[in-house]
Symmetry: C2
Subunit: 476 residues, 2 copies
């Protein structure tokens, strides 16, 4: 109880004020800070280390898929955006524009990339000549900018970091297969690395990417029952190939337009981790991406041999590839427990004179808050095993939370009640835009994703025959 109180002074209550809890946690754990320009963030070392682990995991998977990294310019001529009609309509309102450089006014204003389809399309148009050049698969890790009115660190900021993959193919089938293959890679990554279960599938016309034929999404449920769009994979058909002349000479000697895809995830994923796993005490980080996987806290550190034994354990774990920190600062053990719990370190190991004498150590799991006594022998193996358990348990816990909050509704009142209760709501839809708009207007929920393979009798709005089942939710 004392510990609980100590925490309460630090961060807002997660159940009664989730938005303030979020702000408190991201600032106090030093994940992020506000930048001097409104709507910008500084990603501090503790937050950036999570991003580096995300990058490492995803990058290896992309390369396995035959994707190569490259880098395209930040500044894009404004005229490029007008070449694809839906694209310019979608992005023009939130673009930041460079009008002066080198002390002079520019002849043509330049946009800071909100996404790079137009410039990568232009370059692919130059590079692709024949079917032998296809498929072409490139990815870049970079910053992008979208001027947003309401911002929140990681979730929505004017500048953010992301990766954007872009591929070109000789057939529609191959491009569609690639679109879905990337979605599957993302899904596996979300579940195995971030311990976040996701619902995947297609977006409605209203919600799809500006210029895409079809957008596929991953939707994750946060602690408060809202949805976070965690990544998307777009099938562009020939829309961008036509606009940017990505043409190739086919095997029969005929010039054809290529079929393209794009797909991306961003630093928003850090927000997903915080809001999926966090609890009353602060962050709970999945071991795969936690900057520090294990913290060792010496007990009665001034007693002879304690610090030495803890340092020996630290070295042993570090040599085995565990990301481990020994906290031998002057603070009390209780203070350290709170601090490292707030920072979400998956495993704490306590070791004092009696443990050392008995050849033991104490494990304290962050996910369940359970403690257990473990033999000091084979410490690295025990640590690796419990980290794997924690990783698996976090996924199952998040899945159980999500699955317990998927409800069905037959009408608008049911949808409203469902989302107000913090649920994802499945409901029938006739397929018309009017009904989709009405739901948003009356419930503040949006169509997150098609529930493929499911069926319903009637549209929850108009009562006409339902063509699809949609998962509705309020979203970040």
């Amino acid at each position: 109880m004392a510990k609980e109180n100590q925490f309460v002074e630090q961060i807002a209550d997660i159940e009664s004020d989730f938005p303030q809890w979020y702000t408190d946690v991201v600032l106090k754990t030093k994940l992020v800070d506000y930048g001097p320009v409104k709507g910008t963030m500084v990603i501090r070392p503790y937050g950036y280390a999570i991003w580096e682990n995300i990058q490492k995991e995803l990058d290896a998977r992309f390369k396995q898929q035959g994707v190569q990294n490259a880098y395209f310019p930040l500044l894009i001529p404004m005229s490029f955006f007008t070449k694809e009609a839906e694209h310019v309509e979608g992005f023009a309102p939130e673009v930041a524009v460079v009008t002066h450089a080198g002390g002079e006014e520019l002849a043509e204003p330049l946009a800071i990339r909100p996404t790079s389809e137009t410039i990568i399309g232009t370059m692919m148009g130059k590079w692709v000549q024949s079917y032998r050049d296809l498929p072409m698969k490139v990815n870049q890790w970079c910053n992008v900018m979208r001027w947003e009115k309401t911002t929140r660190p990681f979730l929505r900021t004017s500048e953010f970091l992301w990766q954007e993959g872009h591929t070109a193919h000789s057939t529609a089938e191959e491009a569609q297969t690639e679109t879905l293959a990337m979605l599957e890679i993302y899904k596996q990554f979300m579940e195995n690395c971030l311990a976040i279960p996701v619902l995947t599938g297609r977006k409605t016309e209203k919600e799809k990417f500006a210029g895409a034929v079809a957008t596929y999404t991953m939707e994750a449920m946060m602690h408060d029952g809202k949805s976070l769009q965690s990544g998307t994979s777009h099938y562009m058909g020939q829309n961008f190939a036509k606009a940017f002349e990505i043409d190739f000479l086919g095997q029969e000697g005929v010039l054809e337009h290529a079929y393209t895809t794009s797909w991306g995830v961003s630093t928003r994923l850090i927000g997903a981790v915080i809001m999926t796993h966090g609890d009353a005490r602060g962050l709970v980080l999945p071991p795969v991406v936690a900057p520090t996987q294990v913290v060792i806290v010496p007990i009665a550190a001034r007693k002879p041999g304690v610090n030495e034994a803890c340092e020996e354990l630290r070295a042993e774990l570090a040599a085995a590839g565990v990301r481990v920190v020994l906290d031998n600062s002057d603070n009390s053990p209780g203070w350290k427990f709170n601090e490292w719990e707030m920072k979400g370190v998956p495993l704490r190991i306590e070791m004092g004179p009696r443990d050392i004498e008995a050849g033991k150590m104490l494990f304290a799991r962050r996910d369940t808050l359970e403690k257990s006594e473990v033999s000091r022998e084979n410490a690295a193996a025990s640590v690796q095993a419990i980290l794997a358990q924690i990783q698996g348990n976090m996924l199952e816990k998040a899945r159980a939370h999500r699955d317990s909050r998927i409800v069905y509704a037959d009408d608008m009142a049911g949808i409203l009640a469902g989302v107000e209760g913090g649920n994802f709501v499945k409901a029938g839809w006739c397929g018309c835009r009017d009904c989709e708009d009405k739901i948003k207007a009356e419930t503040a929920a949006t169509a997150r994703v098609f529930a493929e393979g499911e069926s319903a009798e009637k549209c929850a709005v108009c009562g006409k025959e339902a063509k699809h089942v949609i998962i509705y939710a309020r979203a970040y």
Copy 2:
């Protein structure tokens, strides 16, 4: 001779037209392409893979030094630049400015970072409270923009990628030590990873970074005898700490300004690799950073068993961590030899029916163009050994080239003759700005770096007593 001719059709002669050779090589090996906006470049996968290897090597060294990665915003309020007088003077002329965003004119124009001292200084001012918060060491890998009139891929472009490290310390001594420690890390990296020997030391007042107390540089000699500034490490004293209020409460309870440093290298290093090691046939890449270290070319590939044996070798090398490609395309072996030589792959392995029968393979080194027959057994160990030899030989070759082109001069005519002959020229300097300006005006050479510990009798320009020896060179 036939091979020589085939090459001549592709790229300009390295001796008679080095600038055109450079342009041909970077474009034809697909390292880079021109972006649509003047002065911008697209780093293509083959070029970006070199950058990834550079990042991996440097990043590990930075972390070893206690530096943590972070990310700071791209856009900086113009007013920040005016806080440090020399800094604004140095960077204002080449800044790109955002004036509009989200469809509206901004209240204050925003600069795209040309470097981040001002914004990182602002954040450090917020984060640093007491001596316990110091030293603070952060680094970011990011894009920066400097609007340049004359541009060349990798060497000088309006946007480039780099890393910028920024540290704050409680004493001048500690900050100076850090400045030099980072310079030494860079130097070791240049020699051990890029096989480029560098001269390190201090820059003159005229050539130092805008706002620094002292700038330390690494100067490398390119194939044509010109110098390339390959990286810098700056000691800022309290200049930025005063401007951005990086103040800390010292151990005696007195508020003091911190002492800061910054240091960076950029994608320019790829240009350094190209221009240091390249030869008449194209690129020659050091094994440590080569995207492909080994290419296997099957001879008489249609004969039974050849492709299988080559694939077996490829798998064996890949499993041992070698970056290896098996070229089983339809092109002739001769065509493949030229292509992979132009791309600078350090080692080619040829394997045909007779080699397979004899349990042999043929090694062809890119650096010396020597061939040798090697036993197929323990292939991975033989390959690792020859790659290490190539790496070492490339450094020694570059060092011998550089050392043979360092000359001394007593007067302006000597300096002019020296730099026109493609040399670094050591000469005495009285220390006055006028003499330094005159050398630049009359020889197009600049003071690259102080030759510390050396002495001369008189200044090569005015004939007065020399206080220093300077290394002059024409530079990129």
